[in-house]
């Protein structure tokens, strides 16, 4: 397994992403709430650049005890990233598709050495 330099953590802001190319492979590296997450940049739907689109909080709908809806709201804790081709939406922490957790992007490990961030591919 090779380690590929991503960038310095001090230059990587929360909410940003980097796309790393290693041969034919492309890996999207996100920094979210001071944590790093890395996934294949090939969407499992039609192969779009899954990590290059919008990041947006998950939309939720909560029910009251009597089963009435409280309407739509943005999650306070769950962040998604969205393939810009068709809107396939993946969980930032797991890479699983929001509507079908069996659909899951390949996840890569991140190694931090001092201020340097590496992805293990």
């Amino acid at each position: 397994m090779a380690e590929q330099f991503v960038c310095k953590s001090s230059e990587f802001k929360n909410g940003e992403r980097q796309i790393i190319r290693i041969g034919e492979e492309e890996i999207g590296v996100f920094k979210h709430e001071d944590e790093y997450f890395a996934y294949s940049n090939f969407c499992l739907h039609q192969g779009g650049p899954a990590c290059e689109g919008l990041t947006i909080a998950r939309v939720e709908e909560h029910l009251r005890a009597d089963k009435t809806s409280m309407g739509l709201s943005f999650s306070e804790k769950d962040m998604n990233f969205v393939c810009p081709w068709h809107g396939y939406e993946y969980d930032m922490r797991t890479g699983a598709h929001v509507a079908d957790p069996k659909v899951r992007l390949r996840k890569y490990d991140i190694v931090k050495k001092g201020d340097d961030i590496y992805v293990v591919a």
């Binding site: 909410g15 940003e16 090939f42 039609q46 192969g47 779009g48 650049p49 290059e52 689109g53 919008l54 990041t55 947006i56 909080a57 943005f74 969205v82 810009p84 081709w85 068709h86 809107g87 939406e89």
Partner: protein, 413 residues
């Protein structure tokens, strides 16, 4: 460029460059050697509503032209063309919508041709049938005169300013002002033999449309005589009474595209239009495929019970449906067995035409057909372009394509 995400948070994404956005599509095309496969996209779009300043001067009637130009002028509160409710871009999740204006297209050819060439080259598409976007709602205009004027102006603009710029890679099926049967006939007589016109299109997004009315028989005869296709292009209309109880766009979108083609295809079939115009190529566009086996079964079932209501028919409704053509997109690939059955029921090998619908949000790449495990090589070539090459008389663009067109009996130009 920044996009708005949750709670007003801004996310920086790159400016739109279609070639870059579709780099993975280009890889798919290279991996599958699409260069040797003639690929025809029978349903692609441009945003003609962003060129109204070029289109409206082509309107014929000076009064309607003045109304339209004034409505589009700065400070005006007028509206030229009907619109619909909805969130095709899913709040900017499909980034090419909000970023569209950021794409750079310096100089010639026409901006829409430059953008079209970028996505066609990326996907491995050789030819595309160019359809408008906003004009798909023209059937909801309350004035048939304005419907005619806008269709006429668009037809002149696209055939005189856009298609001549595209080196023959784009063709069109021009939008008909269906509320005005005489106007439709005049459109066919005027534009039917222009370069790049492969047929005419009726948007099925309408509150009232009687495809079987005697008023349209001259139109269908004129199309058939000229060897031109008649396409019915579907769309959503959340504002329609039928969809008023849908509280999410997904519901109105999923049902709307299917519904309008189901509705008008039913009327077309039970009124024996296939019997009256057997050589008129009819294409049903952008409703996906799942509705087709449903409608075949439903109509065959009722036809055997109530043949007295369809005395023109000489065979089952599904047989007439198998005589017509259908575009692939948006193809439902959730259940491969169901899809295989659909292909079998509709004779996909000869009746199905690949469509991307690009740049709209639910576009399909050619690989959606090429990678299907149950489709023969011949059917793949036919669906991706061979059948369309025969219908629209499109020539191969290289020797590899020519060999494959000959191999599968599709070389006609």
């Amino acid at each position: 460029m920044d996009l708005i995400a949750d709670r007003g948070r801004r996310v920086t994404v790159e400016e739109l460059n279609t070639s870059k956005l579709l780099a993975h599509a280009a890889k798919q095309a290279r991996d599958r050697k699409f260069e040797d496969v003639l690929i025809v996209d029978c349903d692609a779009h441009h945003y003609e509503n962003e060129h109204f300043s070029e289109i409206l001067p082509f309107m014929e009637n000076e009064v309607f032209k003045q109304l339209a130009l004034a409505a589009g002028a700065k400070g005006s509160r007028g509206s030229v063309a009907p619109g619909t409710f909805g969130y095709q871009d899913m709040g900017g999740r499909v980034t090419r919508y909000p970023l569209r204006s950021s794409e750079k297209t310096p100089g010639a050819p026409h901006r829409d041709v430059q953008i079209g060439n970028r996505w066609m080259d990326a996907m491995g598409v050789d030819y595309s049938c160019l359809f408008p976007t906003g004009m798909l709602n023209i059937g909801m205009h309350p004035q048939k005169e304005m419907e005619f004027e806008l269709c006429w102006a668009y037809a002149r603009w696209v055939t005189e300013k856009v298609l001549p710029d595209c080196d023959g890679r784009m063709y069109t099926m021009l939008c008909l002002p269906f509320s005005d049967p005489e106007g439709c006939l005049r459109m066919v007589e005027t534009f039917g033999d222009r370069k790049g016109v492969g047929g005419f299109m009726v948007t099925t997004v309408r509150e009232r449309m009687a495809v079987y009315d005697n008023a349209y028989m001259k139109l269908y005869a004129a199309l058939q005589e000229r060897g031109l296709a008649l396409a019915f292009h579907s769309g959503p209309n959340w504002g329609a009474q039928t969809f008023q109880s849908c509280n999410r766009f997904i519901s109105a979108h999923a049902l709307g595209f299917s519904w309008y083609n189901i509705l008008h295809c039913t009327n077309w079939v039970v009124n024996g239009m296939g019997e009256r115009f057997p050589k008129l190529p009819v294409i049903w566009i952008e409703a996906g495929l799942a509705w087709i086996p449903f409608l075949m079964q439903k109509l065959d079932h009722e036809y055997l019970l109530r043949p007295s209501e369809c005395p023109i028919l000489k065979k089952k409704p599904s047989d007439y449906m198998r005589d017509m053509y259908y575009s692939t997109q948006p193809m439902e690939i959730q259940d491969m067995g169901a899809l295989e059955t659909t292909f079998r029921m509709m004779n996909a090998e000869t009746q199905l035409l690949y469509a991307s619908d690009y740049p709209h949000w639910d576009f399909d790449l050619p690989s959606t057909i090429w990678d299907l495990p149950f489709v023969s090589e011949k059917a793949k070539h036919n669906i991706l372009g061979g059948t369309a090459a025969r219908l629209f008389k499109l020539p191969p663009r290289n020797e590899g394509q020519k060999k494959n067109l000959i191999k599968y009996g599709n070389l006609v130009a």
